[in-house]
């Protein structure tokens, strides 16, 4: 019978598996290490100064580079109104600034630019080493991701973090940034009709709790959508995303 690559891999994996005695010893080693770790004080995490990011887009590897710059896209208010939705909205001037930024970077990197991500005053770029790959008619889009938190005894939602990503429609992007929240962002967006956008999002959140936020949805242009909500230790958290269609500019000024 003709074998498939999957068959060969399965047979190979079986031949390379550890025997019961090896697993028993390894399990005992783990149990000992777990007890030792539990008895040690927790190490303090050092703040990361540099972002080491890696991403892929299509079959081409993408090199993520970091640049520092003064604030460009308008910040969300530090004290958003009660529901926190304002913090997730992308104001008109923010969308225009995003268009200009993406346009200027496209001029610099031509069609090797895959995405631009911003957190605070740091910007990371996904640049493919291989030119080409842009789909004809691809349209720039911006997505704003925010986490809000609120102690159960308070009324006011506070902004925990915000990430903005600008990319083109149908780019399959993966942004890893261990030192930031979320520690990885996977996105795919496609404008459909009547200002609606199909979006698939997966966020890997590590701080202040560990969780995945995963959503596939049809969203309205510019309307914040709640993608995660939970309460831990007397504090409520929610993660919102807003997708905004941008115009493709011919003149970056």
């Amino acid at each position: 019978m003709k074998k498939t690559p999957d068959d060969l891999l399965r047979e190979w994996a079986t031949s390379r598996s550890a025997d019961e005695e090896h697993i028993r010893k390894l399990t005992a080693r783990i149990e000992t290490a777990a007890r030792r770790a539990r008895n040690q004080p927790k190490p303090r995490l050092a703040p990361a100064r540099w972002l080491v990011a890696f991403a892929t887009a299509g079959a081409a590897a993408v090199i993520a580079v970091m640049i520092s710059r003064p604030g460009h896209l308008p910040d969300a208010p530090t004290h958003p109104p009660n529901d926190g939705l304002q913090a997730a909205r992308i104001p008109e001037e923010g969308a225009r600034a995003g268009e200009s930024l993406f346009c200027r970077l496209e001029e610099l990197f031509n069609d090797q630019l895959r995405w631009v991500a911003e957190s605070g005053d740091e910007v990371s770029l996904g640049v493919s080493p291989i030119a080409g790959g842009n789909l004809p008619g691809a349209r720039p889009l911006m997505v704003r991701l925010v986490m809000l938190s609120k102690a159960d005894s308070e009324d006011q939602w506070k902004l925990a973090w915000r990430r903005d990503v600008i990319t083109r429609s149908q780019e399959l992007i993966e942004i890893a940034a261990d030192s930031l929240s979320p520690s990885s962002i996977n996105l795919w967006m496609l404008p459909v009709e009547n200002g609606r956008v199909a979006v698939e999002t997966l966020l890997d959140i590590q701080k202040p709790f560990s969780a995945d936020a995963r959503v596939s949805a049809l969203v309205d242009d510019g309307v914040p959508q709640e993608i995660l909500s939970l309460s831990i230790g007397g504090t409520s958290y929610k993660v919102l995303q807003t997708v905004r269609l941008l115009d493709k500019k011919n003149d970056c000024s």
Partner: protein
Amino acid sequence: MIDLSDEQLAAVYVATGEMRFFDEIANRYTAQVRAMIYPVVLNHADTDDLTQETMLRVVRHLPSFRAKARLSTWIYRIAMNTTKDFMRKRKRNPVRSHSELSASDTVQEPITNPVAHDAAQLDRDIERALKKMSPALRVAMNLTAINGMDAGEAAKAAGCLRSSMYRRIHEAREFLRKELAEYLS
């Protein structure tokens, strides 16, 4: 043997802090986690270390485990993240070739007949092909072809979109078909 589901074990460990409940989780998952890591790193000593590191992360983060998820998926995700961290660090040092592996890494079996020789050659060719693949493609084949997950479950474990997982599986199969063509005809 404790007669509780995985998720119940996790909840009881978090509530009581008694290590015997974690020991049971380690008993249930060490072999599976190890089997998930080896095809990606292709080295027995590193696989053992990463299996231990995965299970230590599991015990450290169990209080944040949310019971509506499956414990198995959550643990596989931690295993794949731990492996990805390791592969990133090792990126500048490519995976050692089979002949460079230490004695403990290599299955030392005398090759005395043609069938055994063919099998050993096939194993070497599969490892050579896997080493040429990117870690992302290796993870995709590991989760689906070897560990039997569907694309959705594999995407959760790998921390990527389902569409990315489909693409990776397709690319990896195409690559393996070319690399292992002589064994597939």
